[in-house]
């Protein structure tokens, strides 16, 4: 039964709730264990998906790796735990995982009532719609009366309801538990529209028989800031995850990549670069990490730009443009806080 793991999690939340939670210092736990337990999706191309050899890749996976590099010095020391949308928060609450990196939107209710903290935003997304080109729809406002297929377990249904209610348009919602069935039903013509976060729509489109016959409408009806989540109350751990993410962005801003970083370490006179790479100052120590934490992250995982292009960019089947996910000085929203 697919539900059995979830039931186990819920029951452990009731009875064994002390074990994972009584150890508030996640950093110590992870260092002692030598492996980072990272919660990821059950397979979302570009974000977290296993290949045939069960090795994981994606932007969410790269964040897990970056945190493992920062804490343990080795990006391979990660145990990935595939989680359904339903299971993810319970898995974090019970201590089953140390870090949730699973295309999860940062919202007030989640932040305030689920015992979670969202350290930073990894990917700016928004809920959108995919339609068949044959339908001749060009804008979201032309979707009145449409039947919409979507997946349960997110704020998706709520966003659709709010949007259509505000526009006074009718709609019908067909909600599936798994994304594969959503795509199959959409392809069979059960619905006119497929709705999900835009990144998910691009990923789903690659699964269709004729991806070119379908288009993702450019408008979004919600803000979906996707990012990692940690348990509430362990501030040091939250800081480490936050600054690991900023390190990826900062590397791109400083023009560092996994290719040029060794050279830059030797030659760069830029104090920002030298501080970032641990040649000057003690930013790593302040976080409880080694001085070369950021250097190792860039070396093993790369900069945010490299991570993005490798998993989502033009060279991948997803072909997602940087858009909102460019750096702040390139017209996007990513703004890493100063490393000093």
């Amino acid at each position: 039964m697919p539900h059995s793991f979830f039931c186990f999690l819920v029951i452990s939340l009731i009875f064994l709730a002390t074990h994972g939670i009584a150890a508030p210092n996640t950093l110590e736990v992870v260092k002692k264990r030598g492996v980072l337990h990272c919660g990821v999706s059950q397979g979302l191309a570009g974000f977290s998906a296993p290949d045939s050899k069960n090795s994981w890749s994606g932007i969410d996976v790269d964040l897990c790796r970056a945190v493992a590099v920062a804490v343990l010095g080795d990006g391979t020391k990660v145990k990935y735990r595939p989680l359904s949308a339903k299971e993810r928060f319970t898995a974090l609450q019970t201590g089953e995982i140390d870090l949730l990196s699973r295309n999860t939107s940062w919202t007030l209710v989640r932040d305030a009532s689920l015992g979670l903290d969202f350290p930073a935003v990894l990917y700016y997304d928004g809920q959108g719609f995919m339609v068949s080109k044959k339908a001749g729809v060009k804008a979201v406002t032309e979707l009145a009366g449409a039947t919409i297929c979507t997946q349960t377990g997110t704020t998706t249904e709520l966003n659709i309801a709010d949007f259509f209610r505000a526009k006074n348009m009718k709609y019908k919602l067909v909600v599936f538990e798994k994304n594969d069935e959503v795509v199959a039903a959409y392809e069979a013509g059960r619905c006119d529209v497929l709705s999900a976060d835009q990144s998910g729509l691009y990923a789903s489109r690659t699964k269709l028989k004729q991806p070119a016959d379908h288009m993702v409408l450019s408008e979004v009806i919600s803000k979906e800031p996707l990012g990692p989540a940690v348990r509430h109350g362990d501030n040091q751990w939250a800081d480490i995850v936050r600054w690991t993410l900023f390190a990826l962005l900062e590397a791109e801003e400083l023009g560092l990549t996994s290719q040029n970083i060794d050279g830059e370490l030797k030659t760069s006179k830029n104090p920002g670069v030298r501080r970032f790479l641990g040649a000057e100052g003690e930013v790593g120590k302040d976080l409880g990490l080694r001085p070369d934490w950021a250097l190792s992250i860039v070396k093993q995982v790369g900069s945010y730009g490299e991570v993005f292009e490798r998993n989502l960019g033009e060279a991948t089947p997803l072909k997602i443009a940087r858009g909102m996910n460019a750096l702040w000085n390139k017209g996007g929203l990513h703004y890493p806080m100063p490393v000093r």
Partner: protein, 333 residues
């Protein structure tokens, strides 16, 4: 020809010691649950995870395609629970009725004098009960869906009933307004009238076909349990085969049939939770799915969902047990 009653050993007189032991055990179990509950509550509070049923009266904000009672986006999570529960009950009841009707036919087919009918019944049982239910559900859902036309190319019956991939649209009569509401193609879809969802049809069909195979076997077994002599005696008295079945065999077979039939009905009820796989808005999909996700209160939602299935199962078991009691007193009288 008479068969001696099987000798049933009555349970021995229960000693006080064993009663006390059991009371003690029960007390320990209850105490365990109490401690567990308190522990959970404390931990949830310490982690600042919301607990309790405060979400019940909050606005749910999402739509549900099929609701037997009035429901809209401004309804509460509590309303969503009742809508989902009724949808589950609808499928369970239809599935039990469909499975029983099919099961009786399949069960009786085993006693047909026609070889072909006997063979078909056998093949049906072996094929259906050896394929996982979820696969059958996907087969019917996606298989049927793919063969149906788009709304624009609907099959039409007299211009009032339409069948397409979005469901069966039928006219409805409103007693309050005193007029007919006829489905009409408007934009993407049909509006007006009532739509029977393909998800509902696929689910009821699958559950009925699946449980019919099991119920057929249960009925065949029950009838076989009645000794052959009963048939022979009844036929010798000049009753027809049908009369023999109705007046002699079935009254004896039914007390054998009822216990396994009860558990089959329970299975059908619990199997309705597969609805979530094909987007039928049942309790698991709506309540243990969307509501759980939006509120994040896994413990409360899962406990309530489990309590509902437990309650439904106990209710079915109780009513069939009462039926058996009644039959038993009839048989004695």
């Amino acid at each position: 020809m008479s068969q001696s009653q099987p000798h049933i050993r009555r349970p021995r007189k229960v000693s006080w010691v064993s009663i006390w032991l059991q009371v003690l055990l029960l007390a320990i179990i209850l105490a365990g649950f109490y401690v567990g509950g308190q522990n959970a509550l404390e931990n949830l509070q310490r982690q600042s995870i919301a607990s309790g049923f405060g979400f019940w009266d909050r606005t749910a904000g999402f739509g549900i395609t099929q609701h037997l009672i009035p429901y809209g986006e401004s309804s509460t999570y509590g309303d969503a629970f009742w809508v989902a529960l009724l949808n589950t009950l609808l499928v369970a009841i239809l599935g039990i009725i469909g499975g029983s009707v099919g099961g009786v036919l399949i069960g009786l087919a085993a006693f047909s004098q026609n070889l072909l009918v006997r063979l078909l019944g056998r093949v049906y049982i072996e094929v259906i009960r050896n394929i996982p239910l979820l696969l059958q559900l996907f087969f019917w859902y996606f298989g049927v869906l793919r063969s149906l036309p788009s709304p624009r190319e609907s099959y039409s019956l007299g211009g009032v009933i339409y069948l397409n991939i979005r469901g069966l649209s039928i006219p409805t009569y409103s007693f309050r307004g005193g007029g007919w509401s006829v489905p009409q193609l408007e934009g993407f879809n049909f509006t007006g009238g009532l739509v029977i969802l393909p998800e509902l049809v696929a689910l009821v069909l699958t559950l009925s076909l699946y449980s019919a195979a099991f119920i057929g076997e249960i009925i065949r077994g029950g009838i076989l349990a009645v000794s052959r002599g009963q048939w022979e005696a009844a036929l010798a008295l000049g009753l027809t085969r049908f009369q023999t079945l109705r007046l002699v065999v079935i009254p004896q077979a039914r007390s054998v049939i009822l216990p396994p039939l009860t558990s089959q009905y329970l299975n059908t009820t619990k199997n309705t939770s597969l609805a979530a796989a094909i987007a039928y808005p049942d309790l698991v999909l709506i309540f243990a799915g969307t509501v759980l996700m939006q509120t994040g209160q896994a413990v409360e939602v899962m406990l309530l969902t489990m309590a509902v299935y437990l309650g439904l199962s106990l209710l079915i078991a109780l009513s069939l047990w009462l039926l058996q009691k009644r039959w038993a007193t009839h048989d004695l009288g």
